[in-house]
């Protein structure tokens, strides 16, 4: 599998070249959010706002009112936790095109509970006028810019950085409101988002060899969530559906699917894999994924529970996943 380094770092500069209305706002994390090349290339379009997120979000609202497309970059937690009222009042209510790029979703940082965004989708999707997206690979990190730019209102993006695998063909960009069907089958449906899609792909590759027919769907548009094909697939699935996300099981993909199923009157079993209503702590991605049960093995285990069969699979049976080492030249600090 192809692994790319610093995708956003290079892509943003290329993409924004012919878009003078695009301004990039930073809250003292320019290197860590891969906007330092943008800063050095277009200094006049780069606004350093300091560690002052509340002002940054309201300020961005003011810029957007005057025709600019402000792209706010910082760690996800610092957007929705530190400046929620500002997002609601200065950005979301007036339906302004402020684009928020939240880095280090969920377990993607050893920075501990203060740095780990575990309930951002839950919070941001309950804001009226907000569009919520999550990137799952390099192709989506490259193409999400076109998606957010076309949405006339505010957008919150769960963004990836550092070394990122390319799971999806670069000629199949992220499209607003469109899911990716990665495998077909009517034994059960697996819905995954973000980095969990790669984990799910690892698990399902080996389960397929066990004769299990799984419909695997990758979701990048979390709001608006208008995917009738998902409901149809779940209706046809023999065992039910499993959602898998790098986020709390409250308010994210699992909750969204539950709402959709209830609305459609679907009486199927739903298993939500995610962070089980707990804070995390500072540790590596691999450790946290195992510890909190959001890796490929966790999916295999839940599938075993669902179908009532043990496959006797372990880590050794799975393809290796590429994870950026904690100390890597693809990031400016170990965070």
């Amino acid at each position: 599998m192809e692994v790319l380094s610093k995708v956003h770092y290079h892509n943003l500069v290329k993409w924004a070249q012919d878009k003078p209305d695009v301004l990039v706002l930073s809250a003292d994390l320019s290197g860590s959010t891969e906007i330092d090349l943008f800063r050095d290339t277009y200094p006049e379009r780069f606004l350093s706002m300091g560690i002052a997120e509340q002002n940054m979000l309201s300020f961005a609202g003011g810029l957007a009112r005057e025709g600019y497309c402000p792209m706010v970059h910082t760690f996800a937690v610092f957007i929705y936790r530190r400046a929620y009222d500002q997002i609601a009042v200065s950005v979301a209510y007036p339906h302004l095109p402020v684009k928020m790029f939240g880095f280090l979703p969920g377990i993607m940082t050893p920075g501990g509970a203060t740095h780990q965004a575990i309930e951002d989708i839950s919070i941001m999707r309950s804001l009226p006028n907000m569009t919520v997206l999550e990137c799952g690979d390099a192709t989506e990190v490259e193409s999400v810019l076109d998606v957010v730019y076309k949405v006339p209102g505010p957008v919150y993006v769960r963004m990836l950085r550092g070394e990122i695998p390319r799971l999806f063909d670069s000629f199949e960009p992220m499209t607003l409101g469109k899911v990716r069907t990665l495998s077909q089958g009517d034994d059960l449906v697996v819905l995954s988002s973000g980095i969990c899609t790669e984990e799910a792909m690892r698990a399902l590759r080996v389960l397929r060899k066990q004769g299990l027919a799984v419909k695997h769907i990758h979701v990048s548009t979390l709001k608006p969530f208008d995917h009738p094909e998902i409901i149809e697939s779940i209706a046809q699935a023999r065992w039910g559906v499993i959602s898998m996300e790098n986020h709390s099981i409250i308010g994210g993909l699992g909750t969204i699917v539950a709402e959709q199923m209830a609305g459609a009157g679907l009486g199927k079993k739903l298993v939500r894999i995610g962070i089980k209503d707990t804070f995390l702590h500072g540790a590596s991605r691999k450790y946290l994924a195992r510890e909190y049960g959001i890796d490929a093995l966790a999916l295999i285990e839940e599938i075993e529970n669902l179908v009532g069969e043990r496959f006797g699979l372990g880590e050794a049976d799975l393809d290796q996943i590429h994870i950026t080492p904690v100390h890597s030249s693809a990031k400016v600090e170990a965070l």
Partner: protein, 304 residues
């Protein structure tokens, strides 16, 4: 031009300020409740902004405000702000951001007094389905931003000001603020950023009336010395008597010098209505407890 002609605007502004107080008092008696002390403290500031300090054109909105037609969003492309009451928008025109939208009643009274809104508009205050909301929203007359959550007006105004600078607009951004807002961290973040980016196309008028919801500002959470604090943050600060209209108008004609300009207008929340002083220290909202009190204010209204 004779000195008498030169100063004609001064008496106009005082007259308008008196009219603002009278209209807010009338409204407060009629509805047995209103933001009366805010009218007393801010009447000269608001009147000076509209009649002298700001470069604005005649109202470009329906004299009687339209009814509420939904919040902004993809399903409501025709949503309009209340900025038209402050004149047309364009590169040459100044803009006004009312940061504490608890002052909306004072603003509406000013719009009526200055012929920018019909008196029927003020009668719609806080009525169901009206845009003339109690805590002014973006669609309320004279408003163009959401500011009811205190401290956010200045940051949004700073964003507008930076955008206007980048566009090369001559028009400035005026912000009306209350002193209590300076207890909020976001305001200092905004001042810091405005100084850093040299947003000298902004002029912030602060109604330093020493009052907030819980009572006296210095007893709720001290903000003084506000002038020194602001200067230390890089602002250009002028502290004046907020009831002296010449002093209020002067800063608006200063040559910009790279710093955001803050006009600290020291005011009296009972100005023009000494009766209010009996209610100290709770002046944030006026509701008459006894009929005798209401009568006393009714007599005051008749005398104005």
């Amino acid at each position: 031009m004779t000195s008498r002609q030169r100063d004609e605007w001064v008496s106009q502004v005082y007259q308008a300020a008196g009219g603002i107080r009278r209209r807010v008092l009338e409204h407060t008696i009629l509805n047995n409740g209103g933001y009366l002390s805010q009218a007393c403290s801010a009447a000269e500031i608001i009147a000076t902004l509209y009649l002298k300090a700001m470069n604005i054109g005649p109202a470009a909105a329906e004299p009687v405000p339209p009814l509420f037609s939904g919040v902004p969003g993809p399903g409501n492309p025709d949503y309009a702000s209340g900025a038209g009451y402050n004149g047309p928008q364009g590169p040459e025109w100044d803009r006004l951001v009312l940061s504490p939208s608890q002052y909306a009643l004072v603003l509406y009274a000013a719009l009526v007094e200055l012929g920018r809104m019909a008196p029927e508009g003020l009668a719609q205050f806080n009525r169901d389905g009206s845009t003339v909301e109690m805590i002014g929203a973006e669609h309320s007359p004279g408003m163009e931003l959401m500011t009811g959550s205190l401290g956010q007006g200045i940051s949004q105004a700073a964003g507008l000001a930076m955008a206007r600078k980048r566009h090369g607009d001559q028009g400035r951004v005026f912000v009306f603020m209350s002193d209590g807002e300076f207890q909020s961290g976001q305001v200092w973040e905004a001042i810091q950023a405005m100084a850093f980016y040299q947003l000298d196309n902004t002029i912030i008028y602060v109604d330093v009336n020493g009052q907030q919801c819980d009572g006296v500002v210095s007893q709720v959470m001290n903000i003084e010395p506000l002038d020194k604090r602001l200067k230390a943050f890089g602002a250009r600060v002028i502290r004046i008597d907020g009831h002296d209209v010449k002093a209020l108008a002067r800063p608006a004609s200063l040559k910009p010098d790279g710093r955001p300009l803050v006009v600290l207008a020291d005011t009296d929340p009972c100005r023009g209505m000494e009766l209010l002083a009996a209610r100290r220290p709770k002046l944030h909202y006026t509701r008459f407890e006894r009929e005798a009190e209401r009568e006393a204010f009714r007599s005051l209204l008749d005398s104005l």
